[in-house]
């Protein structure tokens, strides 16, 4: 084992040695520098392994062998090993990354680089306050020196501002140190912690000065203009070092020194962190400069860590894991992002679209963004989860709220940025150079995030046996992304089938509810993957994303703990986001979808926190054991799920996302993905129980929400010109029905809900498949540009016809079963008014369904579509399979409804629906036999058809243009076509209900937030003197708040 002191000795010695190489050229010194950094990393890594895994004991190093407080001592304990390994690691990778820069600037710059890391190592290890100061200065001075790797006026002025501010801060620190020495007679940190200095009047000031100086080194908002300018002005390679190395070490220093102060001070530190986390992320929203934005994000993340360190007393044993998880994610992601910034050399966020030229860089970029916001499978996900759980357990709900709100703000700008890089239209995308030594560090950071995420899983309470098998398969598919789409499609189908084989039999045995959803998720997944064969080329990125979504959906069903559920939920979100944003004009929609998803997920997380806190359980049963604040927990979780089911108010992401998605993605996200929200709501409803006093008002509200959603969405669907948008609004409406039905919370209500769920899955998949297929053929979404397609696409016509009959709820198809149960349940429950609203919206549905079939298939065929072919069989086949399903369901509803009844029975044993032996359902209000209805309608249909054929025997066949046709022209312009604005009259009467008031509200909120950010950020005037004044004012104000007066 190499003594820790050799980290310092080798770094210093080699730095001095490099002085001899000033005239010999730069290659050898560069190599020596990297080797030294590698050695330093090796030593600290060795200690890390020994202390973490082999039960090694911490090592003290005493200067000249004297014991503290008489000498300086260095400690290499577990946390020190972690931090120094991180710091040295970023040094090694950063050194490699900057090597060409350093060579250009000469050996002196390499010396400075090396000394930066010597300084940081000692800062981390030392247990002596003054020694800390000395080596902190070494690091600060080295940073100021490395600013000069870039010689613009901007970087010069940024460096000077940084120098001024840090000089003031270290002065304050020095005053604090000398005062501490005066009161404690020691500089040994352990002595100082024992001395309880805050009890002494002057000692309190001393402790304050030290802590505030450390806090200021962390660049707290708003006294951090100098830090932000440095991030913006300096070379991004330095940004990575400051953000990944210096900030990491300083957080640890804060952790080391904070015990000197009492409890109240720790809250103060957490508060400073909270202000920083929220403030900095808020300002990021308006920022358009990439490096400065990274600065804002860095500062914000450090704020989050200040919160964690400040609240350490409430986090108990989880503290280390949480802090390390957050720290390591931020460290890797942020250095990676800074390095990326240096590779593509674009300052504007919008210019990052160039990343598209190099898909693997784009993947890394996405990895970093998701890791920063805290998505699985990255360490930050588990750490954030545990943080929220522990904060909730300590009843620190306000803190949990702050953490989540700040994370949401961060998500706002990070996902916008990601969206730009994936999708933003860009005139020219210049290529850029990719030297290997710049790619390597970024790649290592990215890969390390995944690996560490895997190992970080046990951090989180209730991780249990979280299965990484599906993710491993997805990684495999991702690595095979160079293969043609067809091959990957076969592979994906095989994977899905195997997954279904693995999970479905077990669910069938044990859990009807989950088995039902597994049909939708797995079988539906297979059916909607089939159209993929219609695509040629590689479809890069499609399959990993789709599989990720399906893996998430599947794991929702197998989840046993809250964490596993949330993990699956977030995987699904990531996958579906990538799928959605693949659409041609989807940048904005994907972004909106992601924001609502993140917001919803955070609300859910808060609700889970309450559940965990009051039940003390990590399993999903915790939801049913909430003893306190049950209403809050249920409402938060319900809103979280309702962002996915697109309930009115939270729906604005859906129309665009579903309509603009690719043809085979729309059925996935509409027919299948939306059901995840339904499944979640069901879990919640079950655990809440129908009769508990707290839940009744909630169910009442949800019932109304469902009804109004159905009404407004259906009405909006009526006025759409875009076929896919029409279907999207229809989905919102249908999900409104489903919410309404389940909120009734009776046996029949739930039967209706299940019927609607499975029906919506089938007919919406059919409709989106067929319409998607048509869109692929015609290259337009607008219905008025279609028409008369019945001749060219008869099979599509039949499929759509059956789909809309099922959707409209007309007998004999299965939609009727839903309607019948629905009214039964509503009347039983006494929800007449809501039921009326739902009934009315059902009638409105006829209008848009008529429009769909009429405008697309009937009427006059357009000239340019005369030779158009039937849609691809790969779209038709799954549609017809589903039609078979609908037919079976319609003819023999008891096949399905009886199992639904069994599923429902445990929760609502008092069934009011009985089955007779011939398959007749008898409710309180009447009876219904699906088979008979089917038979009667079929007979009627056949009779009428025969009669019509008889009548038409004498009809004369004419060509299309051989008639005078009224009100419809197959020619352009389309806007004079009858199908255009078909329901103008209704629009006049009812259109006011569909005006996008809610979209307006959300827009207003987003504009208000952006404007606020723009106003606040003007405190950063760019004047170094003002920044110094900020620092001093910050000291005074925090002092006033902490002590309550001068």
């Amino acid at each position: 084992m190499v003594e820790p002191i050799y980290i310092v000795a080798s770094g210093l010695g080699i730095a001095f040695l490099l002085g001899l190489f000033r005239k010999t050229g730069e290659s050898l010194p560069g190599l020596i520098m990297l080797l030294t950094l590698a050695f330093m990393t090796f030593v600290s890594g060795q200690w890390l392994i020994s202390l973490m895994f082999e039960g090694g004991t911490p090592q003290y190093t005493y200067t000249a062998g004297f014991k503290p407080p008489f000498s300086i001592n260095l400690l290499m304990g577990q946390s020190e090993a972690v931090i120094t390994t991180m710091v040295n690691g970023v040094g090694l990778l950063g050194g490699l990354y900057l090597l060409d820069r350093l060579k250009a600037q000469g050996v002196n710059s390499m010396i400075v680089f090396l000394l930066l890391f010597v300084g940081l190592n000692v800062v981390v290890m030392t247990r002596d306050l003054f020694n800390l100061f000395v080596f902190l200065e070494v690091s600060s001075v080295a940073i100021v020196g490395l600013v000069l790797l870039e010689r613009s006026t901007q970087s010069l002025s940024a460096g000077f501002k940084y120098l001024l501010a840090t000089a003031l801060i270290s002065g304050i620190l020095l005053i604090g140190i000398i005062l501490i020495y005066q009161y404690a007679g020691s500089l040994y940190i352990d002595d100082l912690v024992r001395a309880n200095l805050t009890a002494v009047k002057g000692g309190m000031v001393a402790v304050f000065l030290i802590l505030i100086a450390v806090a200021l080194e962390l660049k707290p908002f708003p006294a951090n203009g100098w830090g932000l300018d440095l991030y913006q002005g300096a070379h991004p390679g330095l940004g990575a070092l400051v953000s990944g190395g210096f900030a990491t070490a300083m957080v640890f220093v804060l952790y080391k020194l904070l015990p000197m102060a009492g409890g109240g001070w720790q809250y103060m530190m957490a508060t400073l962190g909270a202000v920083t986390f929220i403030g900095s992320n808020l300002l990021g929203i308006k920022q358009g400069h990439a490096k400065r934005l990274l600065g804002y994000s860095s500062v914000g993340q450090i704020g989050l860590l200040m919160i964690v360190v400040g609240l350490s007393q409430h986090l108990g044993e989880a503290l280390t894991a949480i802090a390390c998880g957050l720290l390591v994610s931020h460290f890797l992601a942020k250095s990676g992002l800074f390095w990326l910034a240096g590779i593509i050399q674009k300052d504007g966020l919008r210019d990052w679209a160039v990343l598209r030229k190099k898909p693997f860089l784009l993947v890394l970029f996405g990895t970093f963004i998701f890791a920063l916001v805290g998505f699985p499978p990255f360490p930050s996900f588990f750490a954030k989860w545990e943080l929220i759980m522990q904060l909730s357990a300590a009843e620190g709900f306000a803190w949990a709220g702050i953490v989540l709100f700040g994370s949401l703000l961060e998500g706002i700008y990070l996902f916008r940025w990601l969206g730009y890089s994936i999708k933003l239209d860009h005139q020219e995308l210049p290529s850029f150079r990719l030297p290997w030594q710049k790619i390597l560090p970024v790649g290592i950071s990215g890969v390390a995030l995944y690996i560490l995420g895997y190992f970080a899983t046990p951090i989180a309470s209730g991780a249990g046996s979280l299965s990484y098998l599906p993710l491993a398969f997805i990684v495999l598919v991702f690595l095979l992304d160079f293969l043609p789409a067809r091959v990957k499609n076969v592979l994906s189908l095989a994977g899905m089938a195997f997954y279904g084989y693995m999970i479905m039999p077990g669910l069938y045995e044990n859990d009807g509810l989950r088995f039902l959803f597994s049909i939708i998720f797995v079988i539906g997944g297979i059916l909607t993957l089939l159209p993929g064969f219609a695509y040629t080329g590689k479809r890069r990125g499609f399959y990993p994303a789709a599989l990720l979504m399906f893996a998430g959906l599947g794991q929702l069903l197998t989840a046993e703990t809250l964490l596993q559920f949330f993990f699956a939920w977030e995987l699904m979100t990531v996958g579906s986001y990538i799928l959605i944003i693949r659409g041609k004009r989807s940048m904005r929609h994907g972004y909106t979808y992601m924001l609502f998803s993140v917001g919803g997920a955070f609300l859910m997380l808060a609700g889970f926190g309450i559940a965990y806190a009051t039940s003390g359980m990590t399993s999903l049963e915790a939801l049913g054991q909430v003893t306190q604040w049950a209403g809050w927990a249920s409402a938060l979780i319900a809103i979280g799920f309702m962002t996915k089911t697109a309930t009115l108010g939270l729906h604005i992401w859906l129309p665009g996302a579903h309509a603009e998605a690719e043809s085979d993605v729309s059925p996935m996200v509409s027919a299948i993905l939306l059901k995840a929200g339904v499944f979640g709501l069901l879990l919640l409803f079950i655990s809440m129980g129908a009769e508990s006093a707290g839940s009744k008002p909630l169910f009442y509200v949800l019932g109304w929400l469902g009804a109004i959603t159905a009404l407004i969405a259906n009405l909006t669907a009526v006025f759409q010109e875009d076929a896919k948008r029409l279907l999207a609004y229809s989905s919102i409406g249908q999900l409104g029905y489903i919410l309404f039905a389940f909120a009734i919370m009776t046996h029949v209500g739930w039967l209706a809900g299940f019927t609607y769920t499975i029906n919506h899955f089938m007919y919406k998949a059919i409709l989106f498949l067929v319409v998607g297929g048509i869109v692929m053929r015609l290259k337009t979404h607008n219905m008025y540009e279609m028409g008369g397609l019945i001749k060219r696409m008869p099979y599509s016509f039949i499929a759509v016809l059956i789909g809309i009959i099922a959707l409209s709820g007309l007998p004999p198809l299965s939609g009727f079963a839903g309607k019948w149960l629905f009214y039964n349940a509503g009347i039983e429950k006494g929800w007449y008014l809501q039921g009326g609203v739902v009934f009315f919206s059902g009638i409105i549905a006829f209008l848009y369904l008529y429009r769909l079939i009429h405008s697309v298939f009937l009427g006059q065929l357009k000239d340019r579509h005369r030779t158009v072919k039937e849609i691809s069989p790969w779209f038709l086949v799954p549609a017809y399979v589903l039609i078979l399903g609908i037919m079976a369901f319609s003819a023999n509803p008891e096949w399905f409804l009886k199992p639904f009844g069994q599923i429902t029975a445990p929760y609502f044993p008092d069934s009011q629906l009985t089955w007779q032996s011939d398959g007749t359902a008898v409710g309180q209000l009447g009876y219904w036999n699906g088979t008979q209805v089917m038979a009667i309608v079929m007979a009627l249909f056949v009779a009428i058809t025969l009669w019509l054929i008889m009548l038409n025997r004498n009809a004369k066949k004419v060509k299309q243009f051989n008639i005078v046709y009224a009100a419809e022209s197959p020619e352009t312009p389309e806007t004079t076509h009858i199908s255009y604005n078909l329901y103008a009259g209704y629009n006049k009467a009812l259109g006011v209900l569909t005006r996008p008031g809610i979209t307006g509200l959300w827009n207003w909120i987003s504009e208000a937030v952006t404007e606020l950010a723009d106003q606040v950020r003007r405190i950063y005037s760019g004047n170094g003197q003002t920044y110094v004044l900020h620092v001093l004012t910050y000291v005074v104000i925090v002092y006033l708040i902490t002590t309550g007066g001068l």
Partner: protein, 123 residues
């Protein structure tokens, strides 16, 4: 506070220097004057440090004819702040030199030393 001791004078002077230095840093527009302000600020801190280590009526911590080896603990002032102040002074020199180098380059680039002119990075 019975009488005005040596250390009181030192520390009061030190604090006054600190404040003067701060005033210079915060109000002077000329970068060189700001650097001078920093020097004052730094020097003030050093004086405070030495003042804190002072023990009433004792002598320098060097064991020669004036101080007996056995009696050392009762005859000398605290050597530790003196050691620290030496380190602090050297660090101060380093930072001041760096500031001056920056000032030089800033002047060469923009032909001005007005701190307000270097604000192209902001917001």
């Amino acid at each position: 506070m019975e009488q005005i001791g040596l250390s009181h004078i030192a520390i009061t002077t030190g604090i006054l220097l600190i404040l003067t230095g701060l005033w210079g840093i915060l109000t002077q527009k000329n970068i060189i004057k700001m650097i001078i302000g920093f020097s004052l600020f730094d020097t003030g801190i050093h004086i405070v440090m030495v003042g804190v280590g002072y023990v009433e009526g004792k002598t320098a911590p060097i064991l020669d004819e004036a101080v007996q080896l056995k009696e050392a603990a009762r005859q000398i002032v605290d050597p530790l702040p003196q050691a620290m102040v030496l380190t602090a002074i050297v660090i101060g020199i380093g930072i001041t030199a760096l500031m001056l180098a920056y000032a030089l380059r800033l002047y060469q680039k923009n032909k001005t030393l007005d701190i307000q002119k270097f604000n192209d990075l902001k917001w």
